[in-house]
Every structure is written in C-alpha cells, then in structure tokens.
C-alpha cells in the first residue's frame, strides 16, 4: 500500500477524487446531465478558467502571485473581440507586446526584488484601464476561427472536456517534463541552488512570466470564443478563481510544488461547483457562500487524506 502512490500522484489523486465525487453528486441530482449535451453545458466555461488557472500556477511555481490575472484575461478578451477580429495582425502584435510586458515584469520583480503581489496589483489597474479604453462598453465580436474551435463537437466527449484534457497534457509536458519546467520549479524550490548550478534565474523568471501571459491570453481568446463578445470586466473573478483552482488542484504557494493536471482538475471542480449549487436549488443569496463552503469542504477532505497518507508512510 505504501509504495502504491507517490507523493506527486497523490497531489493529483485527491483533486481528481473531489471532482469525481462532485460530478457524481451532480449526476444524482440531475440525471439528465449524464449526456453529451449535459456535460457540455456543465463544463462550458471550464476551458478559459483552466487556462487562467495554469497561468496563475506558473507564477505560483516561482513563489509569486499574480493579482492582475482577472484584469489581464479581460484585457486579452477585449483585444480578441476587437483588434484580433478586425485587424488580426495588429491584434497579434498587441498580444505579443503584452507577453513582452509580462516578461519585463518578471525581470523588474527579480532585479529590484519587489513583491510580485504589489506589482501585479498595480498592473491590474493598467490592464483594466487598457481594457476600458479598448471597449468602453460591452461589445465586439469573436473572430470566426475561435468561434469555430470553441463550438466544435468532437465525437464521444464534448469540446470542453477534450480541450481540458489536451491543455492538461500540454501543460504537464511543459512544466513537468521540459528542462524549462524543471528549472522554473527549481527557482520556486531553491533559487540559490539553481543560480549556483549556472542557470540565470532572471531569465527563467522572465520566461515563466511570458509563458503565464501566453496561457492567460489563450484564456481570454477562448472566453471570447464562448461568449462571442467581451467587456472590460468580463473575467475579473478569474483572479481569485485561478488562485483557488491551483490550491484545489494540489498546488502550494511556496516551494515550486505545483501540478498542471491538478490545476486543470481544480478549475473543472470550481466550474462544476457552480452548477452543483444551482441544481441543489439553493437560494441565490447563498450561492456564493455555498461556493466558499465547497472550497472549505474539499480542502478539509484533502487534509484528512493527506494525514492518512502520512501515517501510512510512517508506519
């Protein structure tokens, strides 16, 4: 029993079980969701949340925290619904510049030894401001191609699930299997030893931030693909959702201990929690509160399971 699951596997196993239990509860409450269309509706908004959660996870892997995630995804969504739709080249340029800004933030935070929380807090104003300038009132239109991708109906499983699995696998390959992934988790774990091993920490941090920006932009693009329009506040709740998703998925704030697969599962769990509550017919007043309660419950379960695992290890 002891050797059956490694610590890394457990990190993913517990979130996966929470998701399975929640899904089971939803199926029990509303059997009609146990279908292609039902699942599609349940996980409809999961893809952008999963991408934003992965972006947050990358930042958390180097011991930072991005409080501008929601504002940045909203900004990316606004660019997608305007420039990327009407002038694709200009749109791509703007998004590329945004990635460069993120890389620059990584450099400034590293060189000046600044708290990432505060810098990203300031940046959240900047991104929101830019988003308001681009789209003063809700509107815009989704580019045809992204609309087509997001509404494609693959056989067997709905798009949201296929895409989530695909995203999880790609992120897993980048973060857990590539050399950049190893070094960036190393920076979170022990920055000095990575430095002494001859790596440039500032470069790794810049690349991590740039990579996070790419994931966040994809979140914005996919969100517009689903909603077909954007507004400057479209993704503001993603800041807190993405942090919660990473934690639910077994990630930790320090030490470079993150799990891309877990993060995607965490994002799916959060998406499902909202549907679950509406099936429970909880009064709308308490919907948000119940979401908080679910978060607490899942973390409590994780604590119990982790404790049991630790006991078995010791035995």
């Amino acid at each position: 029993m002891r050797r059956l699951v490694s610590a890394d596997a457990l990190r993913v196993l517990v979130p996966a079980m929470s998701l399975a239990v929640l899904l089971g509860a939803v199926f029990y409450l509303q059997p009609r969701t146990m279908s292609y269309t039902g699942l599609n509706l349940l996980f409809n908004l999961a893809v952008p949340i999963a991408l934003a959660t992965l972006a947050q996870m990358l930042i958390m892997a180097v011991n930072d925290l991005d409080l501008s995630m929601g504002a940045f995804v909203s900004f990316a969504a606004c660019v997608t619904a305007t420039f990327l739709q009407s002038a694709p080249l200009l749109g791509l340029l703007i998004l590329a510049a945004a990635v460069a800004v993120y890389a620059g933030l990584g450099v400034i935070i590293h060189l000046r030894n600044l708290p990432a929380i505060v810098v990203t807090l300031g940046m959240s104003f900047v991104w929101s401001g830019l988003a308001v300038l681009i789209l003063p009132s809700p509107g815009g239109a989704a580019p045809e191609w992204i609309r087509a991708i997001m509404t494609v109906r693959p056989p067997f499983a709905p798009m949201a699930i296929v895409a989530s699995v695909l995203i999880a696998v790609i992120a897993h390959l980048i973060v857990m299997r590539s050399s950049l992934g190893v070094v960036l988790r190393g920076v979170g774990g022990n920055r000095r030893s990575v430095e002494r091993a001859g790596w440039s920490v500032v470069r790794v941090r810049a690349m991590t931030y740039a990579l996070a920006a790419v994931f966040a932009i994809l979140a914005g693009i996919s969100l517009v693909g689903l909603t077909t329009a954007a507004d400057a506040n479209i993704a503001m709740r993603y800041t807190l959702l993405s942090i919660a998703g990473v934690i639910l998925g077994g990630g930790e704030f320090v030490g470079g201990r993150v799990s891309p697969i877990g993060a995607v599962i965490g994002a799916l769990t959060l998406t499902l929690a909202a549907s679950f509550l509406s099936f429970l017919r909880i009064s709308p007043d308490w919907q948000i509160g119940a979401q908080g309660a679910i978060l607490i419950l899942v973390l409590a379960i994780r604590l119990v399971l982790n404790r049991r695992e630790n006991k078995e290890k010791r035995a």
Binding site: L65, L67, I108, R112, N113, L114, P115, I117, V118, V119, L121, G122, M123, S124, F125, V126, W127, S128, G129, L130, A131, V132, L133, P136, A232, L240, I243, A244, I247, E252, F253, V254, S283, D285, W286, Q287, I288, G289, A290, Q291, G292, A293, L295, I296, L299, A300, L303
Partner: protein, 312 residues
C-alpha cells in the same frame, strides 16, 4: 541617507505631498480646503482597514486577509439594519458590528489552523460566506443611519473630519501596540521567523488568532463608519478596499515578507492613493486612462521606494 532608509514611510508622504501640490497648481489653490478635507476623510477609511491588514501581513509570508471587504459590508449592513435609524440604538449597533468582526476573525483563524488552509484561501472562502450573509441580511432596502451617527461621520472638528480623527486614534493605538507592547514584539518575531518564535516560547497560535481577529474588528469598524458616512450600506461598499488595504500597507513601507511593519506609512500611502485619483479627476482624464495612470504610479512608487535587500 541612512537616517532616511530607516524611515521608509517618508517616501509615501513625499509622494502624497507632491501629488497634493500638483493638484492644487491645476486648480490654482482654489479648492485647498475642500481637497484636503476630502482627502483626509477618504484616506481615513483606508487607514482603518489598512492598519488591520498591516498587522496580518506582518505575521509573515502568505498571511493576508481577503475577507476585509465582505466583513465591512456585513458589519455595515447588519448594524444599520439593527439601528433602523433610531439614535438610541447607536451603541448596540456599534457593538453588533464589533461582534461580527470578532466572529469573522475567529472563524478565519479556525479555518487556517484546523484545516491548515493557506490564509489567502481561508479568508477568500470565508469572504464568500460573509458576502452571502450580507446579501441575505440586506434584502434590498437602503436604511439610513441614525441622524446623530450620520452627522458625526460627515462632520468635522476645527476643520478636521471626525473620521480622520478616529483613524488617527486607531493609528496611535496601533503604533503603541506594535512598538511598545509585548504583543507587538511577538508579531514581529513571528513574522521574522515563526519557528524561532515558537521555540522562544511565544504563544504563536494565540498571537496569530488575535491578529486575525484584530484585522476583522478594524474592518467591521471601518464598515460601520463607512456605511454611516455614505448614508446607508450597499452590498459593494467594501469592494475597493480589497486592493486598497493591501496597496496602502505595501506602499507605506511594510515588508510583504513580514516581520517589519510601518504604521505612519499607512497614512502617507492612503493620502497618496486618494490624491492620485482626485488629481487625475481634476485633470479631466477619462476612466481608462485614469486607471492606467493609477497603476503605473503604484508601480513607480514601489520600484523607487522598494527593492530593499532580502535577508538570508
């Protein structure tokens, strides 16, 4: 220069002063009294909740209270509902607001301690529940505060707004607690090295719990007076204080890594934050541009004033 580096709060005051002068230059000094009073009033609320956040952040990396806005809203809503505009119930209303703060603080720390949830997630989950409670208790109607209380909240003594005086009292108490009391030494020690603090026999759990309670109580105090000041509680009244409470603490020179806090800096940073907004308003920029400028100014201040060396 060494004397200056020992006073990181000086930068926030300097920045606030510069913005104040620039704004007055634009208006030709016409609104000097109005601008100063408005700044003091609005900064006061940031100071009250920011002080609580500062104590929590001082506890060390990862300690942060995201439930401040929800606590403010719930305290303001329930207190105003209980008072129902009756001046005789001002004291009970106040006590209920404080009791809400006590409850939220204890619940926050219970989650952190018993479930070993990182504070950021614990207070976030808690804030969802508190916000729901506020929505449930609010139920539409906007109840006006009792007249005496409302007059107090918008009134002033010798030109100094009452809420600013209140915030000053909070600041002085916080300064004494932090610099002159055993409790203050304890939180600084915990923030610098929790393990060493525990081995030195400091009641770590008690101090941390007390700090989260203190932060929630200050948030409910802020909510009580903010609701009275604005003539009624609204469900989104605390929203802007989430980022504000963190921003004023850090711009004020408190270390995000914990164990090093700065009480005067909160005043400088709060004045600065409000002045920036009113300066950009005076110059007539539109909303988007104003936000971009606010963000860039925050980052600019951090880049110039921050960047201290990290202890290893």
């Amino acid at each position: 220069m060494t004397a200056l580096s020992r006073m990181p709060w000086i930068w926030s005051f300097l920045a606030a002063g510069i913005v104040w002068v620039i704004t007055l230059m634009f208006t030709g000094g016409a609104s000097i009294v109005g601008l100063t009073q408005a700044t003091l009033t609005f900064a006061a609320f940031s100071v009250i909740v920011g002080t609580g956040q500062m104590f929590v952040i001082t506890l060390g990396p990862g300690n942060i209270d995201l439930s401040i806005p929800a606590t403010m809203t719930l305290a303001g809503t329930v207190a105003l509902k209980l008072m129902g505009g009756d001046s005789g119930l001002i004291v009970p209303g106040f006590l209920v607001a404080i009791a809400i703060g006590l409850g939220v603080g204890v619940a926050n720390y219970a989650l952190i301690k018993l479930l070993r949830i990182p504070p950021i997630i614990a207070t976030l989950a808690m804030s969802f529940i508190i916000q729901s409670a506020a929505i449930w208790s609010n139920r539409g109607l906007r109840i006006r505060p009792p007249e005496i209380l409302g007059d107090f909240a918008i009134g002033s003594v010798l030109g100094v707004p009452n809420v600013a005086i209140l915030a000053l009292v909070v600041t002085v108490l916080a300064y004494v607690a932090l610099e002159k009391s055993l409790y203050g030494r304890w939180i600084l020690a915990i923030g610098q090295n929790i393990r060493a603090a525990r081995m030195a026999g400091i009641p770590v759990d008690g101090v941390r719990c007390g700090t989260y309670v203190l932060c929630a109580v200050l948030a409910s105090l802020g909510g009580y007076f903010l609701a009275s000041f604005s003539g009624g509680a609204a469900l989104n009244m605390g929203a802007e204080y989430l980022l504000m409470s963190i921003a004023v603490v850090v711009i004020g020179g408190t270390s995000v890594a914990g164990g090093d806090s700065n009480v005067p800096g909160i005043w400088g940073a709060s004045l600065f934050m409000f002045l920036v907004v009113s300066m950009l308003n005076t110059y007539g920029f539109d909303a988007g541009f104003r936000m971009i400028m606010t963000g860039l100014i925050i980052i600019g201040v951090i880049v110039t004033a921050g960047g201290r060396t990290v202890r290893f």
